[in-house]
Symmetry: C2
Subunit: 884 residues, 2 copies
């Protein structure tokens, strides 16, 4: 066996490593090697492998045989190419030491800079930098950084000494301390080390190096790192590499400098060099913002050759990596060094533009372009945003429940919202929480703000469905409905005052802030086309109105996956007929009331069918418990009793009788359809009559009737029999044959577990993952606000299961449901219509387990199309799911 | 291949069939054959096999080759042995035709009697019976029965003609019609057949026979039978047999008679011949009760020889079948015929006595004896019953929520119940529904009546736990709490009025009815011992108090499987400290309040540990949401605020803040323990301190700490870490080592699905099947009353899943949980502590899937012990589960 290599050198004549060696050299080490190999100037150094880390860990904290000798050899090579010497009093070489694992991972050891400083080497440094103050400042920083990061002494101890020094000298800023004071600090800091660690501060540079390497190795197994790895499924045997690199200085005078740049505009995606630099400065100075950096173009004037070299380098890097790069550079005495290159972060708009233009430039192929745009980002492209240049006063924060931004006058009731909207006023509806009765007002409002409720509360779900911005569960505000005002901190906002909501990040802003409208450029359309060519998963929409259906169709929806009929029950004065139906004491009375609703529902269906012509429309029969349609407060009950001409007492009794302890688990879904068959019969008649009439007009209609909340096959067969009977009667009477399907929601664990049984009766399945998540976890989304945030903050749960499908639990049940269902009917059409249908990670899961379609709110259709394409491409790459 | 035999003869010289041929001859046919073979006089006849039925069905309604010839041959044989002739005008033979499948099955064809009557044969019959009226009455009955059963003409048509006839003749009773009128009816009935069926009534006896056989065959596939088979999993290929048997008549004069008898007393089990008879009568007359039958002993005087023969026969039958028999006989002109023998139904007390005595007599072995007592029956032995001789006035019916009977004065509040009980008054607590605050009052009451809530409502669960009778969900009563009265129908019951509850069948009875106290005879104890020798499943109890623990231990419990700590929170004035804890605004305040609760909880645990010395005690940490401990009505809130010296507004705000939409899915179980760790810490301290103190006293304590409502492994590890920390601290401080386990409830679908994960942290599992059923079905037990009764009545669900484990859904999840859990830890101890732990069918399931124990309320411990033994015996018999 040949001896194992533990140290990889990189320097002017090339590197021993390369990009593909990420597993061995870590991400940072591999990239530095790659740049070096491209002939790009990088300060020389070496990388100690992840294998060495593992051997160190497993071998009782001893270096693997030969490693230290390799380190010394590589170090000599660096000394050689730079003509400097580590620890030399006259011509000292300094190093930085950084950890670098395969995946970026918080919890690992921070950087140590200026390694190699001691009372002897600073002499040579003072000579080199020509500033005693600068060198002592670096020295005291080094001792502090080493003490903190390597020796793990509480950083605050050093900070306090620094503060005391400033106080004693009567100065305020660190920069006001002179060389003498800094020199004293070095002594005092070293004393801290002596006291805390019972050791002298290591003056020997080789000792400093060894200790730093050990610290990096050991940080791989500190508690934070272990926890992080456990949470994100990163294997412990990956280990971390150590990067030891020669220091370069951008603050050595006016011929030095530092800067950061992007190879294209990260905001717009425009193909132009974009960045800034500062002369005589280090990286921190650019970030700290004390001095204002100059635009990168200015460098052309100041140092034309360096600029030219930089341009050549950035172009080379972008061509090499075939993606927009975020680069860091330092100029040390007119010599350019590249310190870092990595894929640059960008806005959604920029991501789309860059991806499409790179295809046009022949740099990448369409598949790569599609993969370059994060589906989660696309959302921002579809909604108005707050102008990033605007000054905003954030008065409260809540959940980013529905993306986009909106400004308007505050109102506290749905009625007021509708009233003002009718007068063309823009309003923001502010409620403790919303209920189905508020839908009209929500529709009239620009945005919705609620004080309670989570990401899948009524407000959030409906707002997303409407494509309206919503901040939900905003505990920071206290609403006083009687006074018509809310208080946030010490600010009181009254009805009619202006506020602006940012639903993309959950901010409530005082006053009216300028917004930027979304623009769907042709490039976006092109990218979507490419995505459609790739994906195999169909994308449908959840829509209950012709308007939403049209929006979704425009966004590319291939059908309706969930049309909730109950929302139709609230519109206009239908609610009166619905309430009459609920208050009926006999089947006959109930049927009479239902007769009134029939033509309205039929009209709804005709309109939706017309918009969705030629595409399937899945209609869910009535789902919510009846009490949702009754008023709740005594005042409302009184009013309604008066309107309906019934006694208030009777109404109240009925409402009380319908009240439930756990409505989520109560008398709803098919349980209603079974105990009050006339309701589903009326709805079936409305659907089939609508379909027959349109068919007669030559329109293609594809209705799919969906029975909700089925837990047992008998529930489905019981309901199906009656639906088929009515549908048959209607078609016979109208003399038209309409092909329709009868299927069911799978939204209860029992339905998933017995899916083989249920598939005997069902012509399709649609997973209702909202309710399935609630029942599988035993978690009410309306009540989870009191502990779920604590759970995600404290990593009891990594993700909110109402946002991303919980693959191990809910997902496992879905898999069981799919497998069992297809065991009975191999061709069973299966979709998903919960909120997860519009969430990229969940969509990938749906693709993986072989669903036929996802259904999501209209505004998430493009996201779903893109995510579905990603799922295919990731599968092609044989990459598994990764949270990183 | 030898020719298949389709017809099995039975007659004086023995039968071709036997008991073991049940599959081929059906239950009835096989038993008749067996009796014949025993030399017992049975009217001769023959049985057509189930195979013939199947061939008929599959062969397009054609008899199998040779069957009809076999029928004719057997018929001739009957004619021969009786010296009568089928269809003969002078000496006619009549037959009965009955269906007889392998299992008794409703929906199949009824009996046709007197087959062979026509205008010719009645002549001979009149000669034989010497009564024209009697023969015409039989004739018109035959035509009607044949028309109804074989020709499927609506029975009402015949009834109406009969009524018209009586009206015309001005008589009231059928018996007042004379021969002439009956003769006319025969003609009129035949006309109905002609009209409805467009055929003459078949006068040819062979035609009558053929049609009857066909009708039996075809009834196997009528809708009712198919539905029944589908529901109870009876295979369609079983088919039914047809029994054709010569008629005998007990109404041929004073030397004829008929009777029914049991070989032992079915009420007490006493070993004595028990029954009654009527001379000159048919079976219907005994049942109809027009004449009063005589005790069987009287027959000794009237017909000593016949009686002697009967005694010999009954003894032979009991010896042969080795079980108490229910027999039917007819005496035709001094000749005794046995018509039926079957296993006799008996009371629970009789079942126990007969089983034990038969072992003592050497008739059966212990295993058979154990199998002879239905575990479900045992319940009645453990509770008081209403004296069967008492006159009762039932004023309302509800759910039989907790067995036994109780009488007392009606009270409407828990406080009143406690007040009166303190004065030694017996009370019945009547509530809309109960909540944990009512536990004291429930304990003080003799019985509990609630207007709402199901079989697993709070009232039902707690009452069963207390062994107290309870009628729940009694929608028949309307409670007016202010007036302190309830109304049932037109009866108003006021506070202080007496009522009696029968919790075994769900009756509410006006007034005080005498009760019979339970008696646990030595025989019962012996049977239980035998059961214990057989069973492998352990039986624990659900108990929260030393009293309940003692009761359960006396009933044979082998540990506590569920000790709910929250019930302890309500006792005495602890609730004040609990409320103080809930109202705390800071962790410190909360800890201070918890400090007050600590010594009380510790005391509870010490008492329970002492009772259960040497047996394991599983203690569940706090489970219910905190709002359950706060008052609900404004009045109560005001009162409490005053008592606690806090503002009513603050209290109300807190209560409102804790209110949940779906408390079942809310902030409870380990979610509380995670967000308020100090609660579980206090409880852990109380448990471990109690255990340490008793250990110091030399007592053996086996605590098992159970974390409720875990859905994700992280919830368990998060909680477990803290519990272990506190337990370790306590033991260190007290200088004692106590062995304890930490485990979890599996009561959420997600916990079952991810049981392999959870088992990594859990030292035991306990399936909480109440909540698991709620979440798996998405069904709130508190709300299910509005549709679940409809479901079970209409066979949407065959059984209430809160009573019997739903094997396909919930049971499948449990199986997954067991398999996955044991995959991680092969020796994982697994139990069940839901209500199902005391239900025999569910216990069988628990045994089958390999659980270690079931835990049930104290009064169900004997039932569980017996059911667990049954499970083993059934397995030994290699019989699967059968609902029949």
């Amino acid at each position: 066996m040949s001896k194992k290599k533990h140290v990889y050198f990189f320097g002017p004549n090339g590197a021993e490593g390369k990009t593909e060696m990420k597993a061995l050299l870590g991400g940072k080490g591999a990239n530095i090697a790659e740049m070096t190999n491209l002939g790009i100037p990088v300060p020389p150094g070496f990388t100690i492998t992840t294998e060495a880390c593992n051997e160190y860990t497993n071998g009782g904290k001893r270096y693997p045989d030969g490693m230290w000798e390799e380190v010394r050899a590589a170090l000599s090579k660096v000394e050689e190419v730079l003509g400097e010497k580590f620890g030399d009093g006259d011509n000292p070489l300094l190093f930085s030491v950084r950890s670098g694992a395969r995946a970026s991972m918080p919890g690992m050891m921070d950087t140590v800079l200026n390694l190699g400083m001691n009372d002897s080497t600073i002499r040579g440094l003072i000579k080199k930098f020509k500033s005693e103050r600068f060198v002592y400042d670096s020295y005291r920083r080094f001792v502090m950084m080493f003490g903190d990061v390597v020796l793990q002494i509480d950083r605050e101890i050093f900070e306090k000494i620094l503060e005391a020094k400033k106080e004693k000298l009567g100065v305020k800023l660190d920069t006001e301390l002179d060389a003498e004071a800094l020199k004293e600090l070095v002594v005092e800091f070293k004393k801290v080390v002596k006291e805390k660690k019972e050791m002298n501060f290591p003056d020997d540079p080789m000792e400093q190096l060894k200790m730093s390497i050990n610290a990096v190795f050991e940080s791989w197994n500190n508690q934070r790192a272990i926890t992080y790895r456990r949470l994100y499924g990163i294997p412990g045997h990956w280990g971390t590499a150590v990067n030891v690199q020669a220091m370069v200085f951008g603050n050595m005078g006016d011929t030095s400098g530092t800067g950061v740049a992007f190879t294209r505009d990260p905001a717009t995606g425009e193909k132009k060099f974009f960045g800034e630099f500062l002369m005589n400065a280090q990286g921190e100075d650019v970030v700290a913002g004390i001095r204002t950096p100059e635009k990168i173009e200015e460098l052309k004037n100041e140092m034309p050759e360096v600029y030219k070299e930089l341009v050549e380098i950035y172009q080379k890097l972008e061509h090499h990596y075939k993606d927009m790069q975020d680069i860091e550079f330092t100029i040390q005495d007119r010599k350019l060094y590249m310190l870092q290159t990595r894929v640059g972060k960008r806005t959604a708009a920029a991501a789309v533009r860059i991806a499409v233009e790179m295809v046009e430039e022949g740099l990448i192929d369409k598949k790569t372009a599609v993969l370059r745009v994060d589906p989660g980002q696309v959302d921002h492209l579809l909604h108005p945003m707050i102008d990033p240049k605007a000054d905003v006063r954030v008065i409260a924060k809540g959940l980013a429940a529905s993306p986009g931004a909106a400004a308007g006058e505050v109102v506290f009731t749905a009625e007021e919202a509708e009233r003002r909207a009718a007068k063309k006023e823009k309003v923001i509806l502010v409620r403790l929480l919303t209920s189905p009765e508020d839908v009209g007002g929500m529709n009239a409002a620009q945005g919705i703000l609620t004080a309670t409720g989570g990401m899948t509360s009524h407000a959030a779900v409906v707002a997303r469905g409407m494509g309206k911005c919503c901040v939900a569960g905003c505990g920071d505000i206290k609403i006083d409905e009687e006074k018509k005002e809310f208080v946030a901190g010490n600010i009181t906002v009254k009805e009619g005052d202006f506020i602006t909501l940012d639903g993309s990040i959950g901010r409530v802003i005082l006053g009216e802030v300028p917004l930027i409208k979304p623009e769907f450029s042709g490039k976006f359309g092109k990218l979507m086309e490419w995505a459609d060519e790739i994906r195999t998963l169909k994308v449908r929409t959840n829509a209950d109105t012709p308007h939403d259906s049209q929006v979704a169709r425009d966004f590319g929806a291939e059908g309706i996956g969930l049309c909730r009929t109950e929302h139709m029950f609230f519109e206009g004065d239908r609610i009166d007929a619905v309430r009459e139906m609920i208050l009926s004491d006999s089947v006959d009375e109930r049927k009479k009331a239902l007769e009134k609703i029939l033509p309205m529902q039929k009209g709804d269906f005709k309109d939706i069918f017309s918009v969705m012509k030629g595409l399937p429309v899945t209609i869910r029969l009535l789902d919510p418990p009846l009490h949702e349609f009754l008023p709740h407060s005594d005042k409302e009950i009184k009013e309604m009793a008066k309107n309906m001409g019934v006694s208030g007492a009777k109404l109240k009794e009925k409402a009380m009788g319908l009240k439930e302890f756990n409505p989520m688990l109560g008398h709803r879904g098919c349980r209603l359809g079974i105990t009050y068959p006339e309701i589903y019969e009326m709805q079936t008649r409305a659907i089939i009559e609508a379909a027959c009439e349109l068919t007669k007009d030559g329109k293609e209609v594809i209705p799919e009737i969906m029975i909700p909340l089925v837990g047992h096959i008998n529930e489905l067969s019981y309901t199906k029999e009656r639906v088929e009977k009515v549908a048959g009667d209607v078609m016979k009477k109208m003399g038209v044959e309409v092909k329709y399907l009868i299927g069911t929601m799978i939204e209860l664990p029992r339905a998933a577990i017995t899916a083989d049984e249920i598939a005997r009766e069902a012509e399709f399945f649609s997973f209702g993952t909202n309710d399935l998540t609630q029942t599988t976890f035993g978690l009410s989304r309306d009540d989870a606000g009191s502990f779920l945030p604590f759970y995600t903050e404290n990593k009891v749960l990594l993700e909110d299961p109402f946002v991303t499908i919980d693959r191990e639990g809910v997902g496992e049940l879905i898999k069981i449901g799919v497998e069992k269902g297809r065991k009975t009917k191999p061709d069973l059409k299966i979709g998903i219509c919960g909120e997860h249908g519009g969430e990229p990670n969940s969509i990938e899961f749906c693709h993986k387990i072989g669903l036929n379609y996802v259904s999501c709110s209209p505004y998430r259709v493009p996201i779903a199309r893109l995510a579905a394409a990603h799922a295919v491409l990731k599968e092609e790459k044989k990459e598994g799911y990764s949270t990183a």
